[in-house]
Symmetry: C2
Subunit: 216 residues, 2 copies
DNA sequence: CATTTCTTGTGAAAAAAGTAACAAATGGGC
DNA sequence: GCCCATTTGTTACTTTTTTCACAAGAAATG
Protein backbone atom coordinates (compact mmCIF):
# COMPACT_ATOMS: atom_id res chain seq x y z
CA UNK A 1 0.00 0.00 0.00
CA UNK A 2 2.35 2.68 -1.23
CA UNK A 3 4.93 1.52 1.26
CA UNK A 4 7.87 3.85 1.36
CA UNK A 5 11.25 3.43 2.92
CA UNK A 6 11.13 6.05 5.58
CA UNK A 7 14.81 5.88 6.32
CA UNK A 8 15.40 7.82 3.14
CA UNK A 9 13.85 11.16 2.51
CA UNK A 10 12.44 11.63 -0.93
CA UNK A 11 13.99 14.23 -3.19
CA UNK A 12 11.53 16.90 -4.13
CA UNK A 13 12.51 16.56 -7.77
CA UNK A 14 11.76 12.85 -7.69
CA UNK A 15 8.12 13.67 -7.01
CA UNK A 16 8.00 16.03 -9.95
CA UNK A 17 9.53 13.41 -12.17
CA UNK A 18 6.89 10.92 -11.06
CA UNK A 19 4.32 13.03 -12.90
CA UNK A 20 6.44 12.87 -16.02
CA UNK A 21 6.82 9.12 -15.71
CA UNK A 22 3.09 8.81 -15.35
CA UNK A 23 2.52 10.78 -18.51
CA UNK A 24 5.00 8.67 -20.47
CA UNK A 25 3.43 5.47 -19.14
CA UNK A 26 -0.02 6.58 -20.19
CA UNK A 27 1.31 7.29 -23.63
CA UNK A 28 2.81 3.79 -23.79
CA UNK A 29 -0.48 2.40 -22.57
CA UNK A 30 -2.34 4.11 -25.42
CA UNK A 31 0.14 2.47 -27.76
CA UNK A 32 -0.85 -0.90 -26.27
CA UNK A 33 2.61 -1.51 -24.82
CA UNK A 34 2.34 -3.86 -21.88
CA UNK A 35 5.84 -3.90 -20.43
CA UNK A 36 8.64 -1.37 -20.51
CA UNK A 37 12.20 -1.28 -19.20
CA UNK A 38 13.81 1.69 -17.53
CA UNK A 39 16.12 1.88 -20.54
CA UNK A 40 13.25 2.12 -22.96
CA UNK A 41 11.03 4.57 -21.12
CA UNK A 42 13.79 7.03 -20.41
CA UNK A 43 14.31 7.42 -24.15
CA UNK A 44 11.13 9.47 -24.06
CA UNK A 45 12.10 11.34 -20.93
CA UNK A 46 14.81 13.76 -20.07
CA UNK A 47 16.56 11.46 -17.66
CA UNK A 48 18.59 8.26 -17.37
CA UNK A 49 17.50 4.71 -16.47
CA UNK A 50 19.22 4.74 -13.07
CA UNK A 51 17.28 7.78 -12.01
CA UNK A 52 13.98 6.30 -13.09
CA UNK A 53 14.66 3.18 -11.07
CA UNK A 54 15.95 5.09 -8.08
CA UNK A 55 12.96 7.42 -8.04
CA UNK A 56 10.57 4.48 -8.03
CA UNK A 57 12.61 2.68 -5.40
CA UNK A 58 11.72 5.36 -2.86
CA UNK A 59 8.20 4.00 -2.97
CA UNK A 60 8.76 0.31 -3.54
CA UNK A 61 9.88 -2.24 -6.08
CA UNK A 62 7.42 -2.19 -8.93
CA UNK A 63 9.48 -3.86 -11.63
CA UNK A 64 10.47 -7.43 -12.37
CA UNK A 65 14.15 -8.19 -12.84
CA UNK A 66 15.08 -9.31 -16.28
CA UNK A 67 11.72 -8.09 -17.56
CA UNK A 68 10.86 -4.50 -16.79
CA UNK A 69 7.76 -2.74 -15.55
CA UNK A 70 4.15 -3.62 -16.25
CA UNK A 71 2.80 -0.43 -17.77
CA UNK A 72 -0.76 -0.62 -16.45
CA UNK A 73 0.29 -1.70 -12.98
CA UNK A 74 2.89 1.05 -12.71
CA UNK A 75 0.36 3.65 -13.82
CA UNK A 76 -1.89 2.59 -10.98
CA UNK A 77 0.99 2.59 -8.50
CA UNK A 78 2.17 6.07 -9.42
CA UNK A 79 -1.37 7.42 -9.36
CA UNK A 80 -1.74 5.97 -5.90
CA UNK A 81 1.53 7.57 -4.79
CA UNK A 82 0.69 10.97 -6.21
CA UNK A 83 -2.88 10.81 -5.03
CA UNK A 84 -4.26 11.27 -8.52
CA UNK A 85 -6.15 7.99 -8.41
CA UNK A 86 -9.18 10.02 -7.42
CA UNK A 87 -10.68 13.13 -8.98
CA UNK A 88 -9.66 16.37 -7.28
CA UNK A 89 -11.88 19.37 -7.75
CA UNK A 90 -9.91 22.55 -8.14
CA UNK A 91 -10.88 26.22 -8.18
CA UNK A 92 -9.64 28.83 -10.58
CA UNK A 93 -9.33 32.39 -9.35
CA UNK A 94 -9.01 35.07 -11.99
CA UNK A 95 -10.67 34.59 -15.35
CA UNK A 96 -8.46 36.88 -17.39
CA UNK A 97 -6.72 35.77 -20.56
CA UNK A 98 -4.62 33.12 -18.91
CA UNK A 99 -7.39 31.98 -16.59
CA UNK A 100 -9.87 31.42 -19.38
CA UNK A 101 -7.21 29.64 -21.41
CA UNK A 102 -6.75 27.25 -18.50
CA UNK A 103 -10.50 26.69 -18.29
CA UNK A 104 -10.27 25.10 -21.71
CA UNK A 105 -7.07 23.19 -21.08
CA UNK A 106 -7.53 19.43 -21.28
CA UNK A 107 -4.19 18.56 -19.70
CA UNK A 108 -5.47 18.73 -16.14
CA UNK A 109 -7.68 15.74 -16.78
CA UNK A 110 -4.55 13.69 -17.32
CA UNK A 111 -3.90 13.97 -13.60
CA UNK A 112 -7.53 13.59 -12.60
CA UNK A 113 -7.82 17.27 -11.78
CA UNK A 114 -11.03 19.03 -12.64
CA UNK A 115 -11.68 22.75 -12.54
CA UNK A 116 -14.96 22.70 -10.67
CA UNK A 117 -15.48 26.40 -10.21
CA UNK A 118 -14.04 29.72 -11.34
CA UNK A 119 -14.20 33.25 -9.98
CA UNK A 120 -13.46 36.71 -11.21
CA UNK A 121 -13.40 40.10 -9.67
CA UNK A 122 -15.00 41.71 -12.71
CA UNK A 123 -18.74 41.37 -12.21
CA UNK A 124 -19.37 41.75 -15.91
CA UNK A 125 -17.56 38.45 -16.44
CA UNK A 126 -19.76 36.66 -13.92
CA UNK A 127 -22.19 34.33 -15.60
CA UNK A 128 -20.10 33.87 -18.71
CA UNK A 129 -19.24 30.29 -19.49
CA UNK A 130 -15.91 28.95 -20.71
CA UNK A 131 -15.52 25.25 -21.37
CA UNK A 132 -18.49 24.26 -19.22
CA UNK A 133 -17.41 26.38 -16.29
CA UNK A 134 -19.46 29.37 -15.31
CA UNK A 135 -17.55 32.33 -13.92
CA UNK A 136 -18.81 33.34 -10.48
CA UNK A 137 -18.36 36.73 -8.84
CA UNK A 138 -15.48 36.72 -6.41
CA UNK A 139 -17.78 37.75 -3.58
CA UNK A 140 -19.01 34.16 -3.49
CA UNK A 141 -15.56 32.65 -3.50
CA UNK A 142 -15.11 32.00 0.21
CA UNK A 143 -18.56 30.55 0.67
CA UNK A 144 -18.45 28.25 -2.31
CA UNK A 145 -14.94 26.95 -1.81
CA UNK A 146 -15.74 26.16 1.77
CA UNK A 147 -19.00 24.45 0.86
CA UNK A 148 -17.49 22.41 -1.94
CA UNK A 149 -14.50 21.56 0.30
CA UNK A 150 -12.05 22.42 -2.46
CA UNK A 151 -8.41 22.12 -1.41
CA UNK A 152 -6.50 23.20 -4.53
CA UNK A 153 -6.58 26.53 -6.37
CA UNK A 154 -5.12 27.92 -9.56
CA UNK A 155 -4.29 31.55 -8.98
CA UNK A 156 -4.34 33.62 -12.17
CA UNK A 157 -5.01 37.09 -10.82
CA UNK A 158 -2.88 40.20 -11.39
CA UNK A 159 0.26 40.31 -9.24
CA UNK A 160 -0.97 43.04 -6.93
CA UNK A 161 -3.95 41.02 -5.74
CA UNK A 162 -2.24 37.66 -5.45
CA UNK A 163 -1.10 37.90 -1.82
CA UNK A 164 -4.43 39.14 -0.48
CA UNK A 165 -6.50 36.63 -2.42
CA UNK A 166 -4.21 33.76 -1.49
CA UNK A 167 -4.75 34.65 2.17
CA UNK A 168 -8.51 34.55 1.60
CA UNK A 169 -8.11 31.18 -0.06
CA UNK A 170 -6.23 29.79 2.90
CA UNK A 171 -8.97 31.09 5.20
CA UNK A 172 -11.60 29.10 3.40
CA UNK A 173 -9.67 25.87 3.47
CA UNK A 174 -7.42 25.84 0.40
CA UNK A 175 -4.27 23.86 1.11
CA UNK A 176 -2.43 23.99 -2.21
CA UNK A 177 -2.01 26.82 -4.69
CA UNK A 178 -0.58 26.82 -8.17
CA UNK A 179 0.46 30.43 -8.50
CA UNK A 180 0.73 32.03 -11.92
CA UNK A 181 1.16 35.56 -10.63
CA UNK A 182 4.72 36.89 -10.75
CA UNK A 183 5.06 37.38 -7.01
CA UNK A 184 6.19 35.24 -4.14
CA UNK A 185 3.34 34.32 -1.80
CA UNK A 186 3.88 34.45 1.95
CA UNK A 187 1.60 31.91 3.59
CA UNK A 188 1.63 29.55 6.53
CA UNK A 189 4.05 26.81 5.73
CA UNK A 190 1.52 24.03 5.81
CA UNK A 191 0.13 25.60 2.64
CA UNK A 192 1.73 24.15 -0.45
CA UNK A 193 2.60 26.58 -3.18
CA UNK A 194 3.98 25.85 -6.62
CA UNK A 195 4.87 28.63 -8.99
CA UNK A 196 4.53 28.75 -12.76
CA UNK A 197 6.63 31.61 -13.99
CA UNK A 198 7.00 31.79 -17.74
CA UNK A 199 8.83 35.06 -17.89
CA UNK A 200 11.59 34.04 -15.52
CA UNK A 201 11.90 30.73 -17.31
CA UNK A 202 12.52 32.76 -20.43
CA UNK A 203 15.03 34.86 -18.53
CA UNK A 204 17.19 31.85 -17.95
CA UNK A 205 16.72 30.70 -21.54
CA UNK A 206 18.06 34.01 -22.76
CA UNK A 207 21.05 33.63 -20.48
CA UNK A 208 21.83 30.19 -21.83
CA UNK A 209 21.31 31.39 -25.37
CA UNK A 210 23.68 34.27 -24.89
CA UNK A 211 26.29 32.06 -23.27
CA UNK A 212 26.03 29.37 -25.93
CA UNK A 213 26.43 26.45 -23.55
CA UNK A 214 24.62 23.17 -24.07
CA UNK A 215 21.35 22.78 -22.25
CA UNK A 216 21.90 19.16 -21.29
CA UNK B 1 32.04 44.10 -16.86
CA UNK B 2 30.09 40.97 -16.08
CA UNK B 3 33.28 39.41 -14.77
CA UNK B 4 32.68 35.90 -13.60
CA UNK B 5 34.83 33.56 -11.64
CA UNK B 6 35.32 30.74 -14.05
CA UNK B 7 36.80 28.42 -11.47
CA UNK B 8 33.29 27.82 -10.15
CA UNK B 9 30.56 26.57 -12.36
CA UNK B 10 27.29 28.37 -11.96
CA UNK B 11 24.36 26.41 -10.57
CA UNK B 12 21.54 26.23 -13.00
CA UNK B 13 19.11 27.30 -10.31
CA UNK B 14 21.17 30.39 -9.59
CA UNK B 15 20.42 31.65 -13.08
CA UNK B 16 16.73 31.11 -12.59
CA UNK B 17 16.85 32.97 -9.32
CA UNK B 18 18.58 35.88 -11.03
CA UNK B 19 15.35 36.51 -12.92
CA UNK B 20 13.46 36.57 -9.65
CA UNK B 21 15.96 38.97 -8.13
CA UNK B 22 15.58 41.22 -11.14
CA UNK B 23 11.82 41.28 -10.74
CA UNK B 24 12.08 42.14 -7.05
CA UNK B 25 14.61 44.87 -7.78
CA UNK B 26 12.36 46.43 -10.38
CA UNK B 27 9.56 46.43 -7.88
CA UNK B 28 11.80 48.19 -5.35
CA UNK B 29 12.80 50.63 -8.05
CA UNK B 30 9.16 51.52 -8.72
CA UNK B 31 8.84 52.15 -5.00
CA UNK B 32 11.74 54.64 -5.29
CA UNK B 33 14.00 52.57 -3.08
CA UNK B 34 17.62 53.34 -3.89
CA UNK B 35 19.57 50.82 -1.84
CA UNK B 36 18.67 47.41 -0.51
CA UNK B 37 20.47 44.83 1.62
CA UNK B 38 20.42 41.11 0.97
CA UNK B 39 18.47 40.78 4.21
CA UNK B 40 15.77 43.15 3.06
CA UNK B 41 15.30 41.95 -0.48
CA UNK B 42 15.06 38.31 0.46
CA UNK B 43 12.02 39.12 2.57
CA UNK B 44 10.19 39.39 -0.72
CA UNK B 45 11.78 36.30 -2.19
CA UNK B 46 11.66 32.65 -1.36
CA UNK B 47 15.28 32.45 -0.31
CA UNK B 48 17.81 33.52 2.31
CA UNK B 49 20.33 36.39 2.28
CA UNK B 50 23.34 34.10 1.95
CA UNK B 51 21.97 32.61 -1.20
CA UNK B 52 21.24 35.98 -2.74
CA UNK B 53 24.79 37.12 -2.09
CA UNK B 54 26.28 33.84 -3.23
CA UNK B 55 24.31 33.83 -6.46
CA UNK B 56 25.49 37.33 -7.29
CA UNK B 57 29.05 36.49 -6.34
CA UNK B 58 29.28 34.08 -9.28
CA UNK B 59 29.19 37.14 -11.49
CA UNK B 60 31.01 39.73 -9.45
CA UNK B 61 30.76 41.93 -6.40
CA UNK B 62 27.93 44.36 -6.91
CA UNK B 63 27.25 45.43 -3.37
CA UNK B 64 28.98 47.72 -0.94
CA UNK B 65 29.89 46.34 2.47
CA UNK B 66 28.06 47.95 5.33
CA UNK B 67 25.59 49.44 2.88
CA UNK B 68 23.91 47.04 0.52
CA UNK B 69 23.15 47.05 -3.18
CA UNK B 70 22.30 50.02 -5.36
CA UNK B 71 18.95 49.04 -6.81
CA UNK B 72 19.30 50.71 -10.21
CA UNK B 73 22.86 49.59 -10.72
CA UNK B 74 22.08 46.02 -9.79
CA UNK B 75 19.13 45.97 -12.17
CA UNK B 76 21.46 46.97 -14.97
CA UNK B 77 24.06 44.39 -13.94
CA UNK B 78 21.59 41.52 -13.81
CA UNK B 79 20.07 42.55 -17.12
CA UNK B 80 23.52 42.52 -18.59
CA UNK B 81 24.21 39.07 -17.15
CA UNK B 82 20.94 37.60 -18.35
CA UNK B 83 21.16 39.33 -21.69
CA UNK B 84 17.85 41.09 -21.20
CA UNK B 85 19.42 44.53 -21.53
CA UNK B 86 18.33 44.44 -25.15
CA UNK B 87 14.97 43.61 -26.70
CA UNK B 88 14.67 40.05 -27.96
CA UNK B 89 12.06 39.32 -30.55
CA UNK B 90 10.37 36.01 -29.99
CA UNK B 91 8.01 33.91 -32.08
CA UNK B 92 4.88 32.18 -30.88
CA UNK B 93 3.87 28.95 -32.57
CA UNK B 94 0.34 27.78 -31.98
CA UNK B 95 -2.41 30.33 -31.43
CA UNK B 96 -4.83 28.14 -29.53
CA UNK B 97 -6.28 29.10 -26.18
CA UNK B 98 -2.98 29.21 -24.38
CA UNK B 99 -1.14 30.79 -27.28
CA UNK B 100 -3.57 33.67 -27.63
CA UNK B 101 -3.52 34.18 -23.88
CA UNK B 102 0.24 34.60 -24.07
CA UNK B 103 -0.12 37.09 -26.91
CA UNK B 104 -1.84 39.36 -24.45
CA UNK B 105 0.47 38.68 -21.54
CA UNK B 106 2.39 41.74 -20.42
CA UNK B 107 4.90 39.87 -18.26
CA UNK B 108 7.31 39.18 -21.10
CA UNK B 109 8.01 42.87 -21.42
CA UNK B 110 9.48 42.76 -17.95
CA UNK B 111 12.38 40.81 -19.39
CA UNK B 112 12.56 42.82 -22.60
CA UNK B 113 11.01 40.01 -24.60
CA UNK B 114 8.61 40.89 -27.34
CA UNK B 115 6.39 38.52 -29.26
CA UNK B 116 7.14 39.74 -32.73
CA UNK B 117 5.25 37.17 -34.74
CA UNK B 118 2.79 34.35 -34.27
CA UNK B 119 1.78 31.37 -36.37
CA UNK B 120 -1.02 28.88 -36.46
CA UNK B 121 -1.76 25.80 -38.43
CA UNK B 122 -5.43 26.67 -38.75
CA UNK B 123 -5.69 28.89 -41.83
CA UNK B 124 -8.96 30.34 -40.63
CA UNK B 125 -7.06 31.91 -37.73
CA UNK B 126 -4.56 33.55 -40.02
CA UNK B 127 -5.09 37.28 -40.23
CA UNK B 128 -6.77 37.55 -36.86
CA UNK B 129 -5.13 39.95 -34.50
CA UNK B 130 -4.56 39.47 -30.77
CA UNK B 131 -2.86 42.16 -28.77
CA UNK B 132 -1.28 43.82 -31.82
CA UNK B 133 0.06 40.57 -33.21
CA UNK B 134 -1.39 39.22 -36.41
CA UNK B 135 -1.54 35.43 -36.71
CA UNK B 136 0.28 34.16 -39.80
CA UNK B 137 -0.29 30.82 -41.50
CA UNK B 138 2.29 28.26 -40.46
CA UNK B 139 3.39 27.80 -44.06
CA UNK B 140 5.23 31.07 -43.74
CA UNK B 141 6.90 30.18 -40.46
CA UNK B 142 10.29 29.04 -41.71
CA UNK B 143 10.71 31.92 -44.13
CA UNK B 144 9.71 34.64 -41.69
CA UNK B 145 11.66 33.37 -38.71
CA UNK B 146 14.74 33.08 -40.83
CA UNK B 147 14.28 36.55 -42.30
CA UNK B 148 13.60 38.19 -38.97
CA UNK B 149 16.52 36.26 -37.44
CA UNK B 150 14.42 35.24 -34.45
CA UNK B 151 16.23 32.99 -31.99
CA UNK B 152 13.59 32.24 -29.34
CA UNK B 153 10.22 30.54 -29.72
CA UNK B 154 7.23 29.86 -27.50
CA UNK B 155 5.79 26.52 -28.47
CA UNK B 156 2.08 26.22 -27.70
CA UNK B 157 0.99 23.58 -30.16
CA UNK B 158 -0.77 20.29 -29.34
CA UNK B 159 1.56 17.60 -28.00
CA UNK B 160 1.52 15.46 -31.12
CA UNK B 161 2.95 18.22 -33.32
CA UNK B 162 5.51 19.58 -30.90
CA UNK B 163 8.48 17.41 -31.88
CA UNK B 164 8.05 17.93 -35.62
CA UNK B 165 7.51 21.67 -35.35
CA UNK B 166 10.41 22.11 -32.97
CA UNK B 167 12.65 20.42 -35.54
CA UNK B 168 11.40 22.87 -38.16
CA UNK B 169 12.13 25.71 -35.79
CA UNK B 170 15.68 24.55 -35.28
CA UNK B 171 16.11 24.33 -39.03
CA UNK B 172 15.26 27.96 -39.47
CA UNK B 173 17.61 29.18 -36.81
CA UNK B 174 15.73 29.03 -33.51
CA UNK B 175 18.15 28.40 -30.65
CA UNK B 176 15.89 28.45 -27.60
CA UNK B 177 12.40 27.07 -27.09
CA UNK B 178 10.00 27.53 -24.23
CA UNK B 179 7.90 24.41 -24.59
CA UNK B 180 4.36 24.36 -23.24
CA UNK B 181 3.43 21.05 -24.84
CA UNK B 182 3.38 18.08 -22.48
CA UNK B 183 6.11 16.15 -24.25
CA UNK B 184 9.86 16.03 -24.01
CA UNK B 185 11.56 17.46 -27.09
CA UNK B 186 14.56 15.67 -28.57
CA UNK B 187 16.78 18.23 -30.25
CA UNK B 188 20.48 18.85 -30.81
CA UNK B 189 21.97 19.77 -27.50
CA UNK B 190 23.05 23.21 -28.52
CA UNK B 191 19.36 24.04 -28.59
CA UNK B 192 18.12 25.31 -25.27
CA UNK B 193 14.77 24.04 -24.12
CA UNK B 194 12.81 25.03 -21.05
CA UNK B 195 9.55 23.36 -20.20
CA UNK B 196 6.46 24.87 -18.64
CA UNK B 197 4.33 22.02 -17.42
CA UNK B 198 1.37 23.06 -15.32
CA UNK B 199 -0.23 19.67 -15.02
CA UNK B 200 2.84 17.94 -13.65
CA UNK B 201 3.41 20.83 -11.29
CA UNK B 202 -0.05 20.14 -9.99
CA UNK B 203 0.79 16.46 -9.74
CA UNK B 204 3.48 17.20 -7.22
CA UNK B 205 1.21 19.63 -5.39
CA UNK B 206 -1.37 16.89 -4.96
CA UNK B 207 1.32 14.60 -3.60
CA UNK B 208 2.44 17.15 -1.06
CA UNK B 209 -1.14 17.90 -0.14
CA UNK B 210 -1.90 14.25 0.42
CA UNK B 211 1.23 13.76 2.49
CA UNK B 212 0.65 16.84 4.60
CA UNK B 213 4.30 17.85 4.81
CA UNK B 214 5.40 21.46 4.87
CA UNK B 215 6.32 22.96 1.53
CA UNK B 216 9.27 24.93 2.80
C1' DC C 1 18.56 -27.92 -15.08
C1' DA C 2 22.63 -25.34 -16.08
C1' DT C 3 23.80 -21.39 -18.72
C1' DT C 4 23.13 -17.11 -20.76
C1' DT C 5 20.98 -12.81 -21.23
C1' DC C 6 18.32 -9.23 -19.29
C1' DT C 7 17.03 -5.88 -16.10
C1' DT C 8 15.88 -4.45 -11.56
C1' DG C 9 16.89 -2.49 -6.85
C1' DT C 10 20.24 -0.46 -4.03
C1' DG C 11 24.42 0.77 -1.39
C1' DA C 12 28.33 3.47 -2.15
C1' DA C 13 30.68 7.21 -4.58
C1' DA C 14 30.52 11.52 -6.78
C1' DA C 15 28.67 15.81 -7.87
C1' DA C 16 25.97 19.69 -7.03
C1' DA C 17 23.65 22.88 -4.34
C1' DG C 18 22.63 25.26 -0.22
C1' DT C 19 23.88 27.15 4.42
C1' DA C 20 26.72 29.09 7.79
C1' DA C 21 30.28 31.75 9.58
C1' DC C 22 33.41 35.27 9.53
C1' DA C 23 37.14 38.47 7.85
C1' DA C 24 37.15 42.63 5.32
C1' DA C 25 34.97 46.91 3.95
C1' DT C 26 32.02 50.90 4.72
C1' DG C 27 29.98 54.78 6.71
C1' DG C 28 28.21 57.37 10.61
C1' DG C 29 28.61 59.33 15.14
C1' DC C 30 31.27 61.55 18.35
C1' DG D 1 40.40 59.98 13.33
C1' DC D 2 38.74 56.21 16.03
C1' DC D 3 35.09 53.19 17.37
C1' DC D 4 30.82 50.83 16.44
C1' DA D 5 27.15 48.97 13.88
C1' DT D 6 26.41 47.14 9.30
C1' DT D 7 26.60 44.24 5.51
C1' DT D 8 29.15 42.22 1.85
C1' DG D 9 32.01 38.46 -0.45
C1' DT D 10 33.93 34.19 0.17
C1' DT D 11 35.70 30.02 2.13
C1' DA D 12 34.49 26.02 4.57
C1' DC D 13 31.01 22.97 5.79
C1' DT D 14 26.61 20.43 5.35
C1' DT D 15 23.00 18.54 2.99
C1' DT D 16 20.81 16.94 -0.97
C1' DT D 17 20.67 14.87 -5.34
C1' DT D 18 22.54 12.29 -9.00
C1' DT D 19 25.21 8.75 -10.97
C1' DC D 20 27.61 4.48 -10.89
C1' DA D 21 28.28 -0.27 -10.46
C1' DC D 22 26.97 -4.65 -9.38
C1' DA D 23 24.66 -8.49 -6.84
C1' DA D 24 20.47 -10.84 -7.29
C1' DG D 25 16.19 -12.20 -9.57
C1' DA D 26 13.74 -13.68 -13.78
C1' DA D 27 12.92 -15.76 -18.08
C1' DA D 28 14.47 -18.17 -22.20
C1' DT D 29 17.21 -21.58 -24.51
C1' DG D 30 18.95 -25.97 -25.44
Amino acid sequence: MGRKKNKDIIPHEAIRRLSLYLRALKWLSRKKIKVVSSDEITKYLNTIPAQFRKDLSYFGGFGKRGVGYNVEALIREIEKILGTNMVWDIALIGAGKLGTALLGYAGFMEFNLKIAIAFDNDRSKAGRVFGNIRIEPISRMKKEIREKKIKIALLTVPAQYAQKISEDLVQCGIKAILNFAPVNLHLANDIHVAHVDMASELGSLVYRLKHKSSHK
